[in-house]
Symmetry: D2
Subunit: 139 residues, 4 copies
Amino acid sequence: MVRVRVADTDLMGIVHHAKYLTYFEVGRVEYLRRRGVSYARCVQEQVYFPVVDLNVRYHKPARFDDRLVVETWTDKLMAYSVRFAYRIQRMGAAGLDTLAQGFTRHGCVDGAGQIRRIPTEIVGRLAGQEILHRPDDQV
Amino acid sequence: MVRVRVADTDLMGIVHHAKYLTYFEVGRVEYLRRRGVSYARCVQEQVYFPVVDLNVRYHKPARFDDRLVVETWTDKLMAYSVRFAYRIQRMGAAGLDTLAQGFTRHGCVDGAGQIRRIPTEIVGRLAGQEILHRPDDQV
Amino acid sequence: MVRVRVADTDLMGIVHHAKYLTYFEVGRVEYLRRRGVSYARCVQEQVYFPVVDLNVRYHKPARFDDRLVVETWTDKLMAYSVRFAYRIQRMGAAGLDTLAQGFTRHGCVDGAGQIRRIPTEIVGRLAGQEILHRPDDQV
Amino acid sequence: MVRVRVADTDLMGIVHHAKYLTYFEVGRVEYLRRRGVSYARCVQEQVYFPVVDLNVRYHKPARFDDRLVVETWTDKLMAYSVRFAYRIQRMGAAGLDTLAQGFTRHGCVDGAGQIRRIPTEIVGRLAGQEILHRPDDQV
């Protein structure tokens, strides 16, 4: 769960559109942790996943103090890149309300910034997930 | 011209992907100013342009202290929404180097957050621009 | 508890110093909630608490994925301003480790930005707290 | 000159207090450049200046699209640390208007995060500046 901060809002009184990428990031890191992948350990071992492509579609604005659920899943897994998809929902008295959706595609690079294959262990932990978990179907 | 700040970078030593949206924003506000539209005045008059859809493709990383040129143009102009496109280039000794490209699509809302037509004056200042200016052709 | 995000770090590989103010903000909003003050409701009623003075002292760097505890307490309560103090600690296997300390002093303004007295109800909920809770003594 | 971005503002319609530290950073990097110190080169050579202590006092709020001048000077220069002071002013039709003041004190560390002396060359470029330049006197 992500709680919207004052610093996330802008003069429109709603969350600035760039902040949703940070919410995606929170969802991605937690999703990886649940799948047995520590991104902190990746960083220590200089295996990085820079974003190469992304999309966000905004349906309704998030506001200060909203409690957001960030659903994350593996959308497409390739040898050298992986695409994660996201759905951000607001927790409310009447249930969940979809605010935004999107994806981020990531390459895999080493400490020198050179493209490398995604480590086999990570592939193993993410493979098959795109079939098991498709929140998009529920929208 | 946008100069990359330390605060824009992350632990990879490159600019965090979310910051490019802020660079797009700088490009958009300056582009509008050149076309005779003050976004500050829009805000005073409670005419807002929240983002409803966006895409960014990252080609090469920007780094601290880089000088970036943010090209902006009107990509698609409709009665209730407008799409701006962007190309971010790094200024270097050997000329300009394309780092990222993307678009943001904006609705138009009033102070109460209700969808409204884009003011006629703004339409007039942006119309036809998509034909005159197509940096994408140069890539 | 605040989990450090990639977006919070900079090229030094540690959390950028400005982000601690956002952690203070998280601590402050949660502290107020526990004391019965909803800052979201303040915002709805156009009672704002802009920062007029602040200080941060950094002892050790926070890093990506660290779990931080933000202790907050009322440091000084006046008719027109309130000062909150903070201590940020990292949760580790060996217990808590103090990373940073500081304070923020806030004025109270209405929707037009005019200085006003802090609402009596809020004063009542914060008064006396500065005596009961002094985490600084424990350092 | 720093132009305030929409992303710098919050739900109060003014610049979020944490952003002033980023403005200080812009002022500091430009000040160092004028004194012959490239912070980008420091980063390449793994000489870093993490913040160890800071203070900001806010007089008047900055708003979207404001043009800000960030005056920076060396406040205190020691063997292992340096303190920079700042004054942020808004450019207006009637001249400059002071919005905020503050300081940041920085240690000097190497790539492993170990404290080290400030390089002699940098000391030479900053020494004596605290006497020559005292914007505070003009307030």
